[in-house]
Structures are given as C-alpha cells and as structure tokens.
Point group: C2
Chain length 283, copies 2
C-alpha cells in the first residue's frame, strides 16, 4: 500500500473559479434541477471517465439541459491539477446545475448551466478490497419513475432517507427495494448476486442509478472472470439463495456482503476475482 | 383594482442576512435535501400562513430535519418588513435546506438547517379571477413515492420536465397523471372537478403536493359554497364529464379551465363562487 499524503481541506470551484458559495438564484437549489457525478481520482487521473461522461451526457439530454460537456471537461482538467501527489486518491464531485432562472418550474430556454466541482482527499485505498458489509433492510423504497431512472440527477431524497435509516440501524448498508418489493440497490451503490457462473444485477428501468462500476462489470469484468452477466428482475429469495452478494460504487469499488437476514457469507471468491479484475482495469 | 407599485428587484436573505450567494457545501444543492413554500404576501401579511407552516412542519418531520420553525417565523417577519406598500402583492419563496454536511447521502445528526428567503413583486392581482386556461396533456407522469407525497420538498424534476413540455406545447397548463394514468394535478397546482353539487380533487397519497389553497377549499370554502368536497381517485373520463374544472395555487388563486381535449367550458359559476369565497377569506 502506498503512503498517502492526506490533504485536509475540500476545494470548491464554481464555473472554473475557486469559490465557497453558489450565486443565487440557482435551479439546482430550487428544484434539484441538475445532475452530478462522483469521481474517483488516482493521482490527477479520473478513473472510468468515459463511463461518467456517457451517463452525464445522457442525463443532460433527458433533462433538456444544454450540452456543456466541453466546459465540464475543461473545468475538470483544471481541478484535477490541484492534486499534487501522484499516489494520492481523491474524490471529486461534479455537479451540473441548469443554472439561474426566474421563479417557476419551467426551465428558461436560454439556460446557462453552472458547473460546481469539489475535490477532497480519500483516506481509504480503493485498490484494497473493502471489509465485507453487514447488509440490513430499510422501509424506504425507490419511487417508480421511468423518466428519471438510471441517470444521476439531483433529486436524491429517497437515498437520503434510506441512508438515515441505515445509520440508525447500525448496518453497514441497507437493501433498497422498488415499489413492488423488488431488490434494486443499496443506498450508495449497485447490487450484484453471484449464482454459480451467473452474475445478476437488478434492472433499473423504473428507478435507481446505473453506476459506472456496474456498467464496467456488465460490459467487461464479468466476461473477463468467466461469468455470464445479466440484468434481471430479482426477488429477495434470490439474494438469500446467492453464493455471494456484493455491491459497488465509485468510492468503495466492489464490497462483498457478509450477512443478510439469516444468511452469512464467509468466503467471497467471485467478488475477490472481480475486484482483482477491476483494479487491473483501473490501475 | 388597486394601483400597484412594482418593485423591480428580487431580494434574497440567507439565514437572516441579505445575500446573493449560498454558502457551500449545502445539502439542498447536493441532493435536493430540503423543503420550500411559495407564499403570497398582501402588503406585509403572509396569506394562509398557518396552512403553509403546517405543511412545512410536516415536511421537516418526514425528512427528519431539525425543527427550525421558530427561526423560520423570525426570518420571515424580517423579510416581510421589506414590503413598503400596503396594497402591493409579493411572492416570497421560503427554502429550508438541511444545511451543510460532509460528502454522502446520510444526513449529519447535528444538521443546522439553513433558511433562504426571496421576495419578489407580483404584477398580477390575485384578487381578480384569472383568465380561463387551455389545459393540455403531458407524457411526464408523477412518480409513485408515498413517503414523499404531499410535502413540498426540493426534488421537483417531474414538474420541471412537465413544465418544459407545457411551454413547448403552447398550452396554459398541462394535466399530470400518476403512474397508473390517474389525473393528479397540473404542473403548478392542484386540480378540482365540479359535478353538480360535488367537488372532487385527486387523492395525493402516492404523489403530488397538498397545496394550501386545496386544503382551504377542502376544509372551508367548499362547504361555504354549498358543495360536498371529497378527495378521490379520478380518471380522465370524469374530467371530460365535469360541469367545470379548475386548478389552484398560491400565486394564481383559483383558475378555471376553458378547454381540455374536445371539451369546452364557457361558464364557470362554481369556480367564480369559490374564488369569491377565497378572496373574502384572504382579504
């Protein structure tokens, strides 16, 4: 494990300038009218940048926010240069707001998107497999909303409420179901079920976020580890019958589940293999 | 109609101080983690204040945001004093954010809510019945999410998308359905159907916002006009069969519908009577 220099402060840029405040009015504040990405930096390099940009672009199109990908790339490049140690890991949050606008839900036709970037140190080493998680449950379900499913927009109260529930429960993470009781995700990441040589992950056509790590596993890592990956409608019984469970997100990478209801999992060979492939892919 | 002085600028306060920017980080920006109210001021007086405070209080409880109603009342009182003409109408937006917090969905247990207030002139006179609206339709449906239904939280992308659709269509407003195709509201207000001496309004247990004007009509104005008011699951056929349709919100009050699909409504006696009772109640 590399020795890490841990910067102490978060740095924020608004439209390319270091700042500690957001100009008002702003539609992201008013209505959650915008998108975000949580980025893992290895040194000055954004990992899985193409996957993040693809999802962000899809979000801009779905919300009808003017294409600002060129400005996003330019401003991210400036912010990345603030990382001074090549062996340092950082978490960057990129927020794209539709920007200013008059009162009312209707977006201005001449909106100028606003780009907010924060950079903070990451003390954990994402190349090391996280300790297995004790998975609880929450009564907070994802709402059903196909028009917003998949993209990483700023309307995230469901996960806020579920995460509050998780913190109260003392579990490491909690399973979030959809409106029909189907497992969809945990509060901070996507869920995978290992069953023999099959790898299943919930379909996210009605709710949830299509994570960048989820996409990489579906498109690359599963096959690289000899697994058949598919998106499916799951039920809780399949989770309990799984050989392994894990979840994934940008910050933790892949994290195995050690416990869910009465089930215990002591070994995680498939998750470990996928994690190895993941680190190899990114490093 | 009273002559109105129309102030030109919007004034903004953040935590009681005039400001033009929001300190960062802020969870309302990050996740839409907060609530708002749109208030109609007649002179320095907030109309239907008790209804607004009741809904805001319910929202704080549901989201687990610390009770900040005392600070809200104090800061609103200061902002109201900025209105200098007693015959002036203004629109005030009150936003309560959960405030600052570290990265991640889980809300800090020691959150200090942040209060943002904006005050802007209203050029229309809300005591005069609005011109009847041409009601269109939108493919943007409300998501199903019982945990967030009713309260006026900051996750408002569904209405943003529907309002964008409305603007493109050229209609004055558009009907928003729920996930099962049931009429729930228009983009900016609550819907009412008049049928003989019955007044029906959609149940909002799965989606939508329980408007203050809707509550006043249900609790007071309907009976005052000899109408039986009830919340019900409606279908589009009932709208087409209605004697009258109207919608209501804080800024326009009650607004009759002149047209929906093939139906035209030329007279609006029930809506006019309710509007008269509404103005009498508020003035």
């Amino acid at each position: 494990m590399t020795t890490q220099r841990v910067p102490t402060a978060t740095t924020t840029w608004v439209d390319g300038q270091q700042a500690d405040a957001l100009p008002l009015p702003d539609r992201a504040l008013a209505y959650g009218d915008g998108l975000f990405e949580t980025l893992l930096l290895a040194g000055q390099r954004i990992t899985l940048q193409d996957y993040h940009f693809a999802r962000l672009g899809e979000g801009l199109r779905r919300l009808g926010i003017p294409d600002c990908m060129t400005a996003v790339r330019e401003q991210l490049a400036v912010a990345c240069k603030a990382v001074t140690h090549e062996h340092e890991f950082s978490v960057m949050r990129l927020t794209v707001s539709r920007g200013a606008g008059p009162r009312g839900y209707a977006p201005p036709t001449d909106a100028i998107p606003r780009i907010i970037i924060t950079l903070a140190p990451l003390s954990a080493n994402p190349w090391v497999l996280s300790s297995p998680a004790d998975l609880g449950e929450t009564a907070v379900r994802w709402g059903k909303q196909p028009l917003l499913a998949g993209i990483k927009h700023l309307n995230r109260l469901e996960q806020v409420l579920a995460a509050a529930d998780c913190a109260r429960s003392g579990h490491d993470e909690v399973l979030m179901l959809g409106q029909c009781g189907e497992p969809l995700s945990v509060t901070t990441g996507n869920l995978f079920v290992c069953l023999g040589d099959k790898l299943l992950t919930p379909q996210l056509c009605d709710a949830g976020i299509t994570g960048t790590r989820r996409q990489l596993i579906i498109e690359q890592l599963g096959a690289a580890c000899g697994l058949q990956v598919s998106e499916a409608r799951l039920d809780v019984a399949q989770l309990l019958a799984a050989d392994e469970l894990f979840y994934c997100n940008t910050v933790v990478g892949l994290r195995p589940v050690s416990r869910f209801r009465h089930r215990r999992w002591l070994r995680h060979p498939v998750t470990s293999a996928l994690h190895g492939a993941y680190v190899g892919w990114l490093a």
